[in-house]
C-alpha cells in the first residue's frame, strides 16, 4: 500500500517541495505519493472519508478535520509540524503618526483584514477585537481583502493588500501575521518606521500534517519518523526545507489552537459536525 497525502496547491512550489520529499521518502523505503487540492475544504473531507491518509493542513483545516472526524466516529491527529508553525502571533498595525494607543481606540474606525478564511489575518484578529470589546461590523468597520479564498490565508496577497490600504489611509488599522510585518518592512511595502504595532495577539500554532486513524499505522509511523529525521545538514533535503520554510520538523501538537477554535465558534465558521457555515465563504 502507498501512503497518500493531500496538499493544497497554493503556489507552484508545492509540486517542487512534495515531489522532492516524495523521492526522498521513497528512497528510504516509504511508499509515498501525494495529490493536490485547489482548497482545504475538499482535502479535509477526503481525509476523513479515508480517500487520503494524511493531509498537510492549515490550522483552520485541522480544526475542521477534528470536527468532521468526531462526527463520523473517527479521529485525526497532528503527526508533525514545522518549527515555524509553533507560537505565532498576529499584530494590529497602525500608521506611526496615528493617535491610537490601544485596540479599543479603533472604535468607529475601519480595520483592514485578510481573506475571509485567513486564521492569522481575519479569524484570530476578529476574535481579538471582540475580546477588546469591539464587535466586528458593529463597533468597527471591517474591510476584507479576499485573495485566495479557500487557501486559508496561505496566499500572502490579502495581508499585503491590507498593509497597502493602511499606508494609503484607506483603513486605520490592519492585521497581519508577525513575520509578514517584518517582511513588508524589508521588502518596502511598508517603509520602515511608517507603521507601528498597536497590539499583538497571544501565540497560536499554524499548520500540521494531519493523519486519520484509518490510515495504515505502520506507514504513518514510518512517515513521521522519516520526516522527523530530516536534517538541515543534508544537502538533498535542505533546499526543500528552505522552500517549505522550516529548519526542522517537530512532533505535532494540538494544544495551541485554542485562539482559532474560539474564533471559529464566535464566527460560526464551521458547525460542530464540521459543515461549512460561514457566510460569504465560497472556496
Amino acid at each position: 500500500m502507498t501512503l497518500l497525502m493531500g496538499a493544497v496547491a497554493y503556489d507552484p512550489k508545492v509540486v517542487t517541495i512534495w515531489g522532492g520529499f516524495r523521492s526522498w521518502l521513497q528512497a528510504r523505503g516509504l511508499p509515498f505519493d501525494f495529490v493536490l487540492y485547489s482548497h482545504y475544504e475538499r482535502q479535509v473531507e477526503d481525509l476523513v472519508d479515508g480517500k487520503i491518509h494524511a493531509a498537510w493542513n492549515s490550522p483552520l483545516a485541522w480544526l475542521r478535520a477534528e470536527r468532521l472526524a468526531k462526527a463520523k466516529g473517527r479521529s485525526v491527529s497532528p503527526l508533525v509540524m514545522r518549527d515555524t508553525d509553533r507560537d505565532l502571533t498576529s499584530v494590529f498595525l497602525v500608521r506611526t503618526d496615528s493617535p491610537y494607543e490601544k485596540v479599543s481606540d479603533l472604535k468607529g474606525r475601519t480595520v483592514g483584514l485578510g481573506a475571509i478564511d485567513s486564521p492569522q489575518a481575519t479569524l484570530v484578529p476578529r476574535s481579538f477585537l471582540r475580546e477588546a470589546g469591539l464587535t466586528p461590523g458593529d463597533d468597527v468597520t471591517i474591510r476584507r481583502y479576499d485573495v485566495g479564498v479557500g487557501l486559508h490565508g496561505d496566499h500572502i496577497g490579502g495581508e499585503r493588500d491590507a498593509a497597502r490600504a493602511l499606508l494609503a489611509g484607506d483603513v486605520e488599522a490592519a492585521a497581519v501575521i508577525d513575520m509578514n510585518h517584518l517582511l513588508f518592512g524589508r521588502e518596502g511595502t511598508l517603509p520602515p518606521g511608517s507603521t507601528r504595532v498597536l497590539a499583538q495577539t497571544s501565540t497560536y500554532d499554524h499548520c500540521n500534517l494531519t493523519v486519520v486513524d484509518s490510515a495504515p499505522a505502520d506507514l504513518v509511523k514510518k512517515f513521521g519518523d522519516l520526516l522527523l529525521s530530516m536534517s538541515y545538514a543534508d544537502p538533498e533535503v535542505r533546499p526543500l526545507l528552505d522552500l517549505e520554510g522550516l529548519k526542522m520538523w517537530y512532533e505535532g501538537r494540538s494544544s495551541n489552537y485554542s485562539l482559532l477554535e474560539t474564533a471559529v465558534e464566535e464566527e460560526g465558521f464551521y458547525d460542530a459536525d464540521g459543515s461549512v457555515t460561514a457566510e460569504e465563504y465560497t472556496p
Binding site: 524589508r186 518606521g193 538541515y232 545538514a233 544537502p235 535542505r238
Partner: protein, 401 residues
Amino acid sequence: MTAASGVLDLEELGFERGAHLLVQQALKGMHPGQELGVTGADPALTVHLEAWCRQNGHRVRQAVDTDFGIRAWVVRGRADLDRWAGAQRAGSPGVDGIVENPPADWGLAARGALIESGGPQTPFDITHRDLVWAEIAPALYASAASAQWDPNTAIDWNADFTLKPEIEQAVVQVMTYLIENEQAALVIPSKLLARVHPHFREVLQLLAVQAADEARHMEVFTRRALLHGGEMGTSSVSGRESLSTLLEEAEFSMASFLLSVLGEGSFLNLLEFLDKNAPDPVTRQVTRMARRDEARHVAFGVAHLQHQADLDPSVRHRMRAAVERRYESLVDTSGLNQDVFDSLVVLAAGDWTPAAIAKGYDSVMKLQSEMDDGRQRRLIHLGFPSSEAADLSALHTKNFM
C-alpha cells in the same frame, strides 16, 4: 543547561533596517543552546525578533522583570551551522589551489569560495585539469589583457592612399578570406569556453580574450575590405569545408591543436607575409595588429599540448590521428580558394607585368614553404620526430587554417 553569552544592545536599530546583522554577528561565537540577551529601543523589537528567530532556526525566551533591560533572550539554534557543516573550499584562489577534478556541483562558484554542499549539477563536461591546463595560461592571460587595442584608434583609417583597382580587389579578397577564418577562430574557443569547468578560471579568461581578439580582427578586416567602397570577395566551398572540420572537433586538446597550433600557426606566416607585402598602410596595420594577438593563441595551444604530451605521450597518437582524420575528410576538396591564392600572388606582385607576377608567385610559394617549416618546428617542439613532423605538416589543410 544553557549559559548566557552576553547582551546585545540594538539601540534604535530595528529588524526592518538590518538589526538581524548584529544579532547574527553576536550569535556567531556562541554554541547552540546558549542564550543572548537582546535589548534596544525599537518598539517592534520583540515582535520582529521572534519572527526572525523562528524563521532562522533560533528560539526566543521571554524576558522577565528581573532581567533588567533585556527585552528578550535568543536561544541559539544550529541551522546556520548545519547549512555549512558539509561545506568545502573550492581549492584556493591562486594557481597552486587548482584541484585536478572539481565536482560538477561546484558550478560557477569562485575558486577558493566556501561551497555549500548540494546544489545543481552544471553542464560543464571538460572538468579535468589536464584536459585544459597549461602552466603559461595565467601569464598569457595577463599579457593578452594588457595588449588589448581599440580598432578605432590603433589603425590609421584616414591614411591617404590609392591602389590600382585590381590590387584593391586582391586586398578585399584576402580580407574576405581572413574574416571567414577569424569567424571560425572566434566560434571554436567560444564553444570550448562554455564547456570548461569555471574552476579553471585562467583558461576561461584566456579563451574569452582570444574570442575578443578574433572579434576585433573581424572588425578591422571588414573595415579594410570596405574602406574604398568595393564589394566583398568570394567564399569557396572548399574553404568552408576546411573550417567546418574544425568546428566538429569535440575534444578540447585536439581542437586546440588543429586550430591554434596548426591553423593559427600557419596564419602567423600569412599575416607576416601580408604585413611585408601590403600595398597600403591600413592593410599593413591591421595584419600586424592581428598577428600579435595570434601569436598568443599559438603559444597557448603549443604550451597546452606540450603539457598534455608530458603527462601522457600517447597524446601524440591522438594528434596524429586528428590530422589524418581531417585530411581524409578533406581529401576530395580543392583546398584553398583559387581567388585567395591568386590575390596573394597579385598582392606580392604589386604590378601587372610578367616579371612582377613571377615574383609574386615565388613569394606565395615561399610563404607556403615557410608555413610548412613553422608547422614542422612546432610539431617537433611537441615531441614528434622530424620525419613524422614533415609527414603531418604535409597533411595539413591547403586552406591554411
